[in-house]
C-alpha cells in the first residue's frame, strides 16, 4: 500500500510518500511496525492523539482495519480556512 505523510509528520519522517508491504491488520499495527523501524518514525508517531489518519482519502481512526486499503495517510489536525 501507499503511505503518505503531510505537514510536520512528513518533515519528521523525511519523506512525503512510500510504498510498504505489510501484514498489519489495523492502522495501530501499522504504526507499531513503522515505529519499530527507525527513530524518526517513532518520533513522528510518539503521540497518536496529535495525529489523524485517512484511509483511501477518508478520515478514519487508529482501530480501523487495513484489509483492502490502498492508501493510508498520516497528518496532524487540519488547519484549513
Amino acid at each position: 500500500m501507499d503511505v503518505l505523510y503531510f505537514a510536520w509528520v512528513r518533515e519528521r519522517i523525511g519523506l512525503p510518500k512510500e510504498r510498504i508491504e505489510t501484514e498489519a491488520a489495523t492502522v495501530s499495527d501499522l504504526v507499531a511496525e513503522l515505529s519499530a523501524r527507525e527513530d524518526r518514525y517513532a518520533a513522528a508517531f510518539e503521540d497518536l492523539s496529535a495525529l489523524r489518519v485517512a484511509l483511501d482519502q477518508e478520515l478514519s481512526d487508529f482501530d480501523a482495519p487495513l484489509a483492502g486499503v490502498r492508501e493510508v495517510a498520516f497528518f496532524p489536525p487540519m488547519t484549513g480556512g
Partner: protein
Amino acid sequence: MRIVVQEQPFDLGAEANAFAAGDDANGAIVTFTGVVRDLASGDLDVMEIEHYPGMTERALTKIAQEAQERWSLGDVLVIHRHGRLAPGDRIMMVATAARHRKDAFEAAEYLMDYLKSRAPFWKKEITSSGAEWVDAKDEDEDALTRW
C-alpha cells in the same frame, strides 16, 4: 456546486459577480473571504499552505453536499488556495445562494466550520526567525458540536 482547489490567486469580485448572476430564484447571496493575517508582531513573511491532493477535493465536495442537504440552497461555491501566500492575500472564499438569507448565512458558517477542521489543509507560518506549523485550535473542533 463548484469546488476549486488552486495555487493561483482568484478574482473575488469576478467570482462573486458570476455566482450572484446564477438564478433569479435566489434572493440571498452570502460570501465569505479568508485572508492571510499577519502575526501580532507584523513579522509574517509567508504563509505556506500544504494540502492532500485528491482528498481535499473529496472532503470539500462532501462538506458542500452536506450543506445542501441541511439547508435549502440554490448553489454553493468553495475556492481554496494552497502554496505560498503573503499577508493580505486571499486564501479562500465560500459563497452560498438561497431563496432566503437565513439558509445562506447558516450554510456559509457551516461550510467554514467544517472546512477549518475537516478539509486536509495545513498552514505553516514563515518569519525571518524560522518556520512554524499552525496548531489546530480546540475552539475550531468545538465549533462543530453546534451543528
